[in-house]
Symmetry: C2
Subunit: 327 residues, 2 copies
DNA sequence: TAAAAAGGTGGAATCGATTCCACAAAAGCT
DNA sequence: AGCTTTTGTGGAATCGATTCCACCTTTTTA
């Protein structure tokens, strides 16, 4: 491998001069520049990032921590993050927790030892241990998807969007709406969306029934099981709101296998549009959190921080309700 | 930030000893080990990877180059890669070309300047410039999805799987099958799958008609357009095979908008199952290339190379045909 | 025309680890 | 007891860049 020393020797200058030219700081004569450029061309020299970042404490790498990449929501967010990072000449180091909370903390540490310049966390909880770790971190950490205490973060409008959706279902005449959620470890999805469901039913003076609610763990299978639990009850609902698309898929599978037709027998709405589902029957009625944009937005906040802006910002992202024929 | 020098000082040993202990090579007394461990605990010290890799020329990072993350196929592959890398204590640096061929080459260079230990490329072409760049690389590069000349690679069984699918369609009575493909820049998808389509029709003594073929660029929109081109012709096919899932989505959208029903008016089959589509109507008949496994397999080959095995291997991945009611 | 400023360059220290080598103490062997 | 291993340790060089500083030359300015 060619190093800056080789370049210096070949171009008959000192390595300081090469470095100055490469980083465009300090003086370098026209002739020296040309000699250096020529040699760099010929040798196709690329500076070692390890050496560079050992000195400068910058790597040009951003760490991204997410629960699972192969979901539509996550991959769309990553797409957005990637776009924004590429514009700013950063690379992305991707890690996946498989929903293991300990790994979130472990990765924050690990990424720092890799000297990333910043971290983007797709949040699944706001546990104290995690908040502490973020505080301790000596690089900026920003969070998407949870309102993380004393951390710059962007939340989705979990409550409002869910209220709107449940209201929409009610206005479409459904009066017996069931709910598939997730545990309360996840404040955004587990608490807010459930609260929105309950509050809205209350507002319409409808009863809140235990047997109309079931909870999963974000997986397709758990959506299947939750739907089954609800439908096995002696009285059955005529609609269901599922808090994530992945679980909605499981729920649909159960309904399909048991010959319930959507929306004839039961109406369905969910969060996190499945791109594909727009083109297939039934077209799901969903809340679209516009994940690419969210990815871009959170990355922009991180870039701001890297450029020295260090107040903590709290934003809420936008959403759109997409109507399908699943209601 | 605490460094190995701080640890050495606090534990009353030299930094050589700390390093020896950390890397478990060479002798370190019991007492010294305990003192060091204690100090490391207290300071929550993590060695700087930049410094480490400057010396060792290893980063523990693998570069992954892919066309676009937010497709089901790519994200599932990444999932598999990630699993395997995590088992082997590697991190993943992810880059996205957005199908720009120049970027493939640029990223191979860039990743090397970042001192990645190896590169996994999800291939879209086998152009000479790319092959050359891979040859020149001073870290192992492995390729998934194309049979890349003189490079360890895993291909999908593009030809055989397509033959099987077209045959299956023929056996189900379809005699007028159209085809939505991609340009021949992509040998695997553009050439092999098309050849399989043509060969199979020939084998059944069916005519190969220009107007039954259209080509897209992997995007949803291009699938829409291709389907339109085919259906605008005076005579219409009664089935269509689409070479990628993303384009199939576009094709379905066109058919839906124009009130063709699948499979009543036109049968459809595709490659790259859409996980979701299994649960919705129509259930697509697809070739599933089991992308997670492919990701695991290609990563395993890279790991072999990193462990010194340096013969070039060529593998073909497996597949399964999944029957739906779209035919 | 002398002093000040700008342009240009190389030497040397530095970042935080690893690793070779020399050396000393303890243990194992005749 | 004397000799060879084994165990344990620290010093110093090294990886490939950046950056401060000293120094020289050329140009500008008063």
């Amino acid at each position: 491998m060619t190093t800056i020393n080789d370049i210096a020797k070949l171009a008959n200058v000192s390595r300081s001069t090469v470095s100055r030219h490469l980083n465009k700081n300090g003086y370098v004569s026209q002739e020296a520049q040309e000699r250096i450029d020529k040699v760099i061309q010929e040798t196709s020299y690329l500076p070692s990032q390890s050496a560079k970042s050992l000195r400068t404490k910058k790597t040009g790498v951003i760490g991204v921590i997410l629960p699972k990449i192969s979901t539509e929501t996550a991959s769309r967010v990553v797409d957005g993050i990637n776009q924004m990072l590429q514009e700013n000449d950063y690379q992305m180091l991707l890690t996946q927790t498989s929903l293991d909370k300990d790994k979130e903390i472990a990765f924050i540490k690990l990424l720092q030892s890799r000297n990333v310049d910043g971290v983007i966390l797709l949040g699944t909880n706001t546990d104290e241990a995690l908040v502490n770790e973020i505080q301790k971190a000596d690089v900026p950490v920003v969070v998407l998807g949870q309102n993380m205490p004393s951390t710059t973060s962007i939340s989705y409008p979990d409550y409002n969007a869910t209220v709107e959706m449940i209201t929409y279902m009610l206005e479409n005449g459904y009066r017996d709406i069931s709910f598939i959620g997730v545990p309360e470890d996840d404040p955004a999805v587990g608490i807010l969306r459930k609260k929105a469901y309950i509050d809205t039913l209350k507002k319409y003076n409808l009863p809140i029934l235990e047997e109309r609610m079931a909870f999963g763990d974000f997986s397709i299978e758990s959506g299947y099981d939750a739907m089954q639990t609800i439908m096995m009850h002696s009285s059955q609902p005529n609609a269901v709101f599922v808090v994530t698309d992945n679980m909605a898929v499981g729920a649909m599978q159960y309904l399909k296998e048991n010959h319930y037709s959507i929306p004839k027998d039961i109406g369905m709405a969910t969060t996190g549009v499945s791109r594909l589902s727009k083109y297939i029957e039934p077209v799901l009625t969903t809340i679209d959190f516009q994940n690419e944009d969210a990815g871009i937005a959170i990355t922009r906040l991180l870039m701001e921080k890297l450029n020295g802006y260090n107040k903590t910002k709290k934003l809420t992202h936008t959403y759109r309700r997409l109507s399908g024929n699943s209601l």
